[in-house]
Symmetry: C2
Subunit: 431 residues, 2 copies
């Protein structure tokens, strides 16, 4: 059983859109046990579309095709599909009705361009679209089946889940299993080095990596004789992977590192306050992207100006003058000030030089000072991050969250070092 | 002159990585005047790689190929290229030296796997890699040339700019021109509707769209008889596009909307303070992503807890009790409080219900209250945004920035409405 994916659209071949649809479909196909054989993107051009579809239908059992089912004149996919099987396009009346009702509900009236979206090749099997207007459809071409879906991601996903899964699942006996593990602390290359040799020593296992700097996701994929065998292989390999990544592993599903830190704070009933400068609100943003942040985040003060550090966090002007805004002393004063003002259990102060200007010999761009404060005292840390402004802000935000997590749960303290960073711990200051 | 792009890597066909390389290459090729004919991704499999390369070399003049030049055993591209032209792989000594020096500089020693990266097909033209280890190379296959680059985006881009541009530019006489315009305020479909008919009435013009909700980028592409003709066509179409999008146009390069608002504040010498609740730091993050925010952003207080609204912004507890945290009254108190405390020229207060819980009949999820305050008074606004938590946070942040911009420069006030939003302006409150 082989599958290929065709994406239709000049916006793709011109690079105006990144092809996330093909990646999403492949990811789901792998989960279902398939090994996608090819992705092909062609422009909105009759010849290109027909050539691609007929070539792939001759080589593979199933071809998943997205795009070109829209209302405008450059949407040619349905006409090409009809030409491919030598059938006319016919109006699918039930789809016309569905489209009319959907548009009415949205307060719009149906135009000719919408009716065009209900035209499908004669005898094609219609795949209703629960997330939009244009229905999908399936046609046989030789021994292959070609399944057409709209290019709008939400609509493609709806048709895939509602219909395509049921069509393709019976075509293979599942022989694969997968596990996803999340790490933070090592760059992708180091994670890869740590797992070197596993694939060679465990036949049937492949390991995939996906980096969202500084998080690295590891996917363990097992191909077995049957499903039970694949699952056993996968569990065995996952144990080995976990053992090698213990220091940097933080979860085994889609949870982000900031969400994990939030969860730990919430389950311990701790209230956090943040005073951040060079990270510019990213810390607060990362913690509040997931719902429920109100349970553990009292406040986050982005005190960009020195006056704001003084007014909002109570940082002494003398300290700012004596040590400069990017200093351990100011980080301590920010953390202690915001904790006391808000009555927080734990607080984080972050100040540094995110660049691209403002660096000095002793405090080059990328220098960031951290302070974590509780009633038991304040600990400080200094890091040197490399990269551009966005990268430094992101690495610093994650590092700040890590320091909070380690302070709550010292067992969590890892020896992992951040990508491209020479780690130096400075002295701790008491409360 | 026709070009196709091949991307090699099982991580692509399995959907572990989204193929941003193909989009980047296409975007650059279009800028250079090419019209990419196909993208094809195949797994790390000898047969698949050779089939794809020979098929595309038979149809197109230039094939750009990325990936599979790494140090590990699953990197097969160089061997496949050699097989394709019936030549052995040979060690390219100058590249070995370059690799040795680069690794030494990084404090590493060269291993066998690194040496493998200097093996290229005999007689291939080497394209040195200024951003990494593996060199690129070019081979002739029939009438076509295939150019190989590493899959690491930074290395691919370096080789493309350093060598490939000079190889492909002479192959065509440029006959195309492009302009990029940035909008915020209408959904992509409305932008498309507003521009309907331009392509039909102006032969040679195509219009591309790229949405980063809520920003929509519009690309005007002109194909002419020669370069001067294309440029004239492009300018004429751009004038028409600008006229139709006047209300929502905010720039004509890569500048983001938050960066534009920051620039306006900076050029007017105004200092902004923000008190944000439901947007959770995203406002501060958007404004500080670009450098220079310290010149206009005094402070951003993410006052998630009611106590933080009182302690940090001076919001009266009675107001919170009487109206609830998500209310116009609290937005006003937040904006006025943070402005006075920080001595800001202008301030923004944002509070609302980002979801997924916390909605009520009168304040459903997506209800957000805004207040913009200066010494001349405080204006308020209420919006209902639809979508999930991340979307509501993002739409609310952009709307807050728009209100700040409109307050600074009332000529900027647009009649544009936000996607999926019924706009209602409430009464204004004095200072």
């Amino acid at each position: 059983m082989s599958v290929a994916i065709v994406s239709i659209g000049t916006e793709l071949t011109r690079g105006e859109l990144v092809n996330t649809n093909a990646a999403w479909l492949s990811d789901r196909l792998v989960e279902l046990g398939f090994e996608p054989a090819e992705h092909c993107s062609v422009p909105d051009n009759r010849r290109s579309i027909i050539d691609a579809l007929s070539r792939l239908a001759a080589s593979f059992h199933v071809v998943l095709c997205t795009g070109g089912l829209g209302p405008t004149t450059d949407d040619l996919t349905a006409a090409c599909a009809a030409e491919l099987i030598g059938r006319p396009l016919v109006l699918h009346e039930p789809s016309v009705e569905v489209i009319r009702r959907k548009l009415e509900r949205a307060g719009r009236t149906m135009g000719d361009s919408n009716v065009k979206q209900a035209q499908i090749p004669e005898h094609a099997e219609v795949l209703p679209n629960s997330a939009g207007i244009a229905p999908g459809f399936m046609i046989p071409v030789g021994r292959a089946r070609i399944i057409f879906m709209p290019g709008v991601p939400a609509e493609m996903r709806a048709i895939f889940e509602d219909h395509v899964v049921a069509i393709v699942r019976p075509l293979i006996e599942p022989k694969t299993a997968q596990r996803r593990l999340c790490t933070y602390g090592w760059p992708e290359s180091v994670v890869g080095d740590k797992l070197a040799g596993i694939e060679a020593s465990m036949p049937g296992i492949t390991i995939g990596y996906r980096a969202h700097v500084p998080e690295v996701e590891v996917k363990v994929h097992a191909q077995g004789r049957d499903l039970a065998h694949a699952q056993t292989l996968c569990e065995r390999a996952t144990l080995e992977v976990k053992a090698r990544l213990l220091e940097v592993l933080y979860g085994d599903d889609d949870e982000t590192y900031p969400a994990v830190v939030g969860r730990v704070l919430r389950t311990r009933g701790l209230q956090l306050a943040i005073a951040e400068s060079c990270t510019g609100g990213l810390l607060g943003h990362l913690l509040t992207t997931e719902a429920g942040a109100s349970e553990f985040l009292l406040a986050d003060v982005v005190c960009y100006a020195n006056s704001a550090k003084t007014i909002l966090c109570g940082v002494d002007e003398d300290i700012l003058r004596a040590h400069g805004a990017a200093s351990s002393e100011v980080a301590i004063a920010m953390a202690e000030g915001i904790r006391r003002r808000c009555g927080a259990d734990i607080s984080l102060g972050v100040t540094g030089v995110a660049g691209p200007t403002g660096g000095t010999d002793t405090k080059p761009i990328g220098t960031v000072f951290f302070a974590v404060s509780t009633t038991h005292g304040t600990t400080i840390d200094r890091q040197f991050f490399s990269g551009d402004r966005q990268r430094i802000q992101r690495l610093a935000s994650f590092h700040g969250l890590r320091l909070v997590r380690e302070r709550i749960d010292p067992r969590m303290r890892s020896t992992a070092s951040i990508p491209d960073v020479s780690l130096r711990r400075d002295a701790a200051a008491g409360d």
